[in-house]
């Protein structure tokens, strides 16, 4: 058995060979039978491989382009559980492929380590500690005191207790966040007054709105948390993402916790993780829309986007700028910039890709245009074949 396996080593992926051997042993096949089986597997494997000269780039582009035109007609671009909404469909796909730094709805899935996982209270505690608390969240009522020209905020006592805050700590956080404002605290009230006495009504109103956004407690960026139970396991879905700080929490299972923000993954976990995130996120969108794109197309896109070591989008500043051909770059947005820069350094275009050859009306090096003719040349033939010698 093992000799047969050895024979095919390197010609087929080891995983397929191992599987075939294991299955053959279970069904007690003979050596010859196993050989035939693997032979057949090899045929199938070779048939499934992409032939030389196949335009995989353009096939990938079309395979992505066709379903995305379907998606424009689809209305379901947003989805999510309860208050945590997630961008989906075409807008999300564009976000991924463009490698946007700031995505519309950053979101995380935070898993809890096994030892804490059974207890709902621990999960709730973790969730509460993650959530970013702003001043507006712990205030029941804002009043503008017109006579004293100050803002009086009544505090939400129960919420403060839950978050283990005191009026003093709140006042301190407010003092850090707001400049030129005098903050005074009493057991159930916080008073804000601008330092420069002459205040217009409009200014006070603006101050009131500004104070609502002051960060008090939690992890910055995470605006909503939602503990979810799925298959007897708790995890927390969030709106807003901060992978670095979340991974520092000790109750969290850092092997499973994930975010949908490409650049956070890149910064915290590195380029391979970012590539995987591109694949996962793109796949998620396509599956959610009930469409079917082969995973290998998505992998090709993810490879192209991450091959340089950073995440580059499918845009003119992203992967297009990395093309070696001047004409190919110039044919996609802002041609003048590319041509001028190329002429400054005296770039040479080898005409190795598709678009350049279409522009020159030459066969593109794909499919039927790929194979060349090997011919025996007569000496001095570059200057045209001399008459009478052509037959030789």
């Amino acid at each position: 058995m093992e000799t047969v396996a050895k024979e095919f080593e390197g010609k087929l992926p080891q995983k397929i060979i191992n599987e075939a051997v294991a299955e053959a042993k279970k069904r007690s096949c003979s050596k010859d039978q196993l050989k035939k089986i693997i032979q057949y597997l090899k045929e199938q494997y070779d048939d499934a491989r992409i032939t030389a000269g196949e335009g995989i780039g353009i096939v990938t582009a079309e395979s992505f382009g066709e379903p995305s035109t379907q998606m424009t007609l689809n209305v379901f671009h947003f989805a999510g559980v309860a208050e945590v909404s997630v961008t989906q469909g075409l807008p999300r796909l564009i976000e991924i492929l463009d490698a946007r730094k700031e995505i519309k709805t950053p979101s995380m899935e935070i898993y809890i380590k096994k030892e804490f996982n059974k207890d709902m209270n621990v999960v709730k505690k973790v969730a509460a500690s993650i959530k970013e608390t702003k001043f507006a969240d712990i205030v029941t009522e804002f009043t503008i005191n017109l006579s004293k020209l100050q803002i009086e905020a009544t505090l939400h006592q129960n919420r403060i207790k839950d978050l283990k805050l005191t009026p003093d700590t709140i006042a301190k956080a407010l003092g850090e966040g707001l400049k030129n404002v005098i903050v005074t605290s009493s057991p159930n009230k916080i008073t804000l007054k601008a330092k420069d006495a002459e205040n217009e009504l409009m200014e006070i109103y603006k101050l009131k709105e500004k104070s609502k956004d002051i960060f008090i407690k939690g992890i910055k960026g995470i605006s909503q948390v939602l503990p979810v139970k799925k298959d007897n396991e708790f995890f927390i879905v969030t709106a807003g993402s901060n992978l670095k700080e979340v991974l520092e929490i000790k109750e969290i299972d850092e092997t499973k916790t994930s975010t949908n923000s490409l650049f956070e993954v890149l910064a915290v976990l590195g380029i391979e993780a970012a590539r995987r995130t591109v694949i996962n996120e793109a796949k998620k969108v396509i599956e959610n829309q009930g469409l079917d794109v082969d995973i290998r197309h998505i992998m090709l896109i993810a490879d192209i986007m991450t091959t340089s070591g950073t995440v580059k989008g499918i845009t003119r500043s992203g992967i297009t700028s990395g093309k070696s051909s001047v004409l190919a770059r110039a044919s996609f947005e802002t041609p003048i910039v590319h041509i001028i820069n190329a002429s400054l350094v005296g770039e040479e275009d080898q005409l190795n890709s598709v678009i350049e050859n279409v522009m020159l009306n030459q066969p593109v090096p794909l499919g039927t245009g790929l194979p060349g003719l090997v011919a025996k040349m007569i000496k001095g033939a570059e200057k045209g074949i001399p008459k009478g010698k052509a037959k030789k």
Partner: protein, 610 residues
């Protein structure tokens, strides 16, 4: 405390927003505050907003108080007797104009029966949710909303009788339907909007069945007999105009039969239809490129001297000719003056359009299709009584589109035609389906509208019962006669040497970016090259410098502007567009060079000086 904003500006606070809102609304009704003011309370943000700015869309609603509509039977009686005006209804507080914001606080009932104590307002009529054309769709409440939109869009494109004085008008792109009819099945809005004065369709008999596969995918099969009797026949009118313009230097255009000396003179044959004044005579039959109005213009540039002719005769021929692919008859000729008192000639061409394969038709339910086959009357399927459908419609067009209203119209149309009356199909208040079925049954027909049909080709009885009935069908303005186009070779653009664009100029059909991608995706590399050969050129390249060289075929000499005469040149084949790109780069001061290598080379390229 609740913040109050006026036109999105903070103006103060109130203790109790409900009292405040009520007071403002009362004052508004009394006329102390402007009628155009709207106020609403945002419960989420705890803010009251007052809006008085321009540009807010508002709509009238009937006020409801304590579960009772303020509009009573008494009001209606007075309105009918003209004792009460629309404006007075508002000052009396019976009705109110709400904007999009104030509507957020309102709870509007659709019908009077639905009104509860919670409601604040009531719609004037439930069908008010539809626009003018959409409310013309019969049984609209049985159709899918997107289909209603398409249905109303189709009605805007339908040929009909747009104006009674069309014969003295010179409108562009005019189509007149020869025998327009009012629909048998119509909504209340049809009469209210005076659609009956300019109908735009015909009541025809349709059968829902397949016919030899010629009505697949929204194609329609027409009865030749019906078309011969004038079904959906229309006339297309197009005006052509010529003006004698005045130019600088006292020169003017002249409408006349051009003189033989004129630059660009066609031939005597081309001007034979013109009368002595240079204008074509009415009822003459013309085809494409024929001269309709003869005209000559002064030379384009003053001082343009033609060496070989006498200086006086350098006028240009600038006659008005028929457009490509549009034959017709001269319908009307008019000679008048323009604003400057110069002669202005307008002629109108007429062309009868008999329905043909490729013409577009639609029902009022967003069910559009093109004619796929015109069948001789003898081959059409027929009923026991000998009725043959005018049109055969594919039943596969119905389930996925869910246009139940389409089926109901056929049933109602059949009932109406047999009972001799029009059927009311107003949205939400149409004649009920079971009444229609009952009438049909009483008239001796199957109540579901189906009938036994016989195969027109063999005379055999069709196994299935066929749904057949009357329906109002629209002929849409998109006709193949205006769109058919093909080209093998023809005019090219001067700059790029690529074929020109557009049907009117006999242009090429573009193989665009995505079509190119398709060929690349299939690896059909050489086919793709051949497709783009339309602007193929041969250019000479200098071996030593890589710039364009010159080869003089006449003297059999070659030289390069840069390297002189003693050089080696190569001839290569590229697209003219690329040659143009190289030229333009050179014009910008960038010097692109072509490094050539033999197709059969082993890859080592010859070194060139840079």
């Amino acid at each position: 405390m609740i913040d109050v904003f006026m036109d999105e500006k903070f103006i103060g606070e109130v203790e109790n927003q409900e009292d405040f809102l009520k007071k403002v609304k009362d004052e508004r009704q009394k006329g102390k505050l402007p009628n155009t003011l709207n106020i609403w309370y945002n419960d989420e943000l705890k803010e009251v907003h007052i809006e008085i700015a321009n540009g807010r869309v508002r709509r009238p609603l009937i006020v409801v108080e304590k579960g009772k509509s303020k509009l009573t039977a008494e009001h209606l009686k007075k309105l009918e007797a003209n004792e009460l005006t629309w404006k007075e209804l508002f000052s009396q507080g019976v009705m109110e104009y709400l904007d999009a914001a104030e509507e957020e606080n309102a709870y509007v009932a659709l019908n009077e029966e639905d009104v509860t104590a919670e409601h604040t307002h009531m719609e004037i009529s439930p069908s008010i949710i539809l626009g003018l054309t959409t409310s013309l769709v019969p049984f609209a409440n049985f159709g899918q909303s997107s289909r209603l939109n398409r249905g109303s869009k189709a009605q805007k494109q339908a040929l009909g009788f747009y104006s009674a004085n069309y014969l003295v008008r010179m409108d562009t792109d005019v189509n007149i339907l020869h025998y327009p009819q009012n629909p048998l099945v119509k909504s209340f809005m049809y009469d209210v909007s005076k659609q009956n004065l300019h109908p735009a369709g015909q009541n025809i008999i349709i059968a829902l069945m397949s016919y030899e596969g010629y009505n697949m995918q929204d194609a329609l099969v027409f009865n030749k007999g019906s078309i011969d009797l004038g079904l959906a026949r229309s006339t297309y009118y197009r005006p052509y105009k010529a003006e004698e313009l005045r130019y600088a230097g006292g020169l003017i255009d002249e409408i006349c039969v051009p003189d033989k000396e004129v630059k660009g003179y066609r031939s005597e044959e081309d001007y034979k239809l013109l009368e002595d004044d240079g204008i074509i005579f009415p009822e003459s039959i013309v085809k494409e490129d024929d001269v309709i109005i003869g005209k000559t213009s002064p030379p384009r540039f003053l001082g343009e001297i033609d060496e070989f002719s006498i200086a006086a005769n350098k006028r240009r021929e600038s006659s008005i000719t028929m457009r490509h692919g549009e034959p017709g008859k001269v319908d009307f000729v008019m000679v008048t003056e323009n604003e400057e008192g110069m002669r202005l000639v307008k002629t109108r061409l007429r062309h009868q359009r008999i329905p043909e394969i490729g013409d577009k038709f639609a029902s009022r339910h967003g069910q559009k299709g093109v004619v796929g086959l015109i069948v001789p009357e003898a081959d059409m399927p027929f009923t026991v009584t000998g009725v043959k459908p005018d049109l055969i419609f594919s039943p596969h067009s119905i389930p996925s589109r869910m246009t139940v209203s389409h089926l109901l119209e056929v049933l109602a149309g059949k009932t109406g035609a047999l009972d001799g009356r029009t059927i009311d199909a107003t949205t939400f208040s149409s004649e009920p389906e079971h009444d229609l079925r009952k009438t049909l049954l009483e008239l001796g027909f199957r109540e579901d509208g189906t009938e036994t049909l016989y195969n027109g080709l063999t005379g055999e009885k069709l196994k299935a019962k066929i749904f057949i009935g009357n329906m109002y069908y629209l002929r849409l303005k998109h006709m193949v006669a205006n769109k058919l186009h093909a080209r093998a070779s023809g005019r090219i653009q001067l700059l790029t040497r690529q074929p020109i664009e557009g049907r009117a100029k006999g242009g090429g059909l573009r193989l665009g970016e995505m079509e190119k991608d398709c060929l690349v995706g299939h690896g059909a590399s050489l086919l793709l090259k051949e497709r783009f050969d339309s602007d193929i050129t041969r250019i000479q390249v200098c071996e030593s410098c890589g710039m364009l060289a010159v080869y003089d075929n006449f003297k059999n000499t070659q030289f390069c502007h840069r390297c002189g005469g003693n050089i080696v040149i190569n001839t290569i084949q590229i697209s003219y567009a690329f040659k143009l790109l190289l030229d333009e780069l050179r014009a910008l001061g960038i010097g692109p060079k072509l490094n050539l290598k033999s197709k059969y080379d082993d890859g080592s390229r010859t070194q060139r000086s840079k």
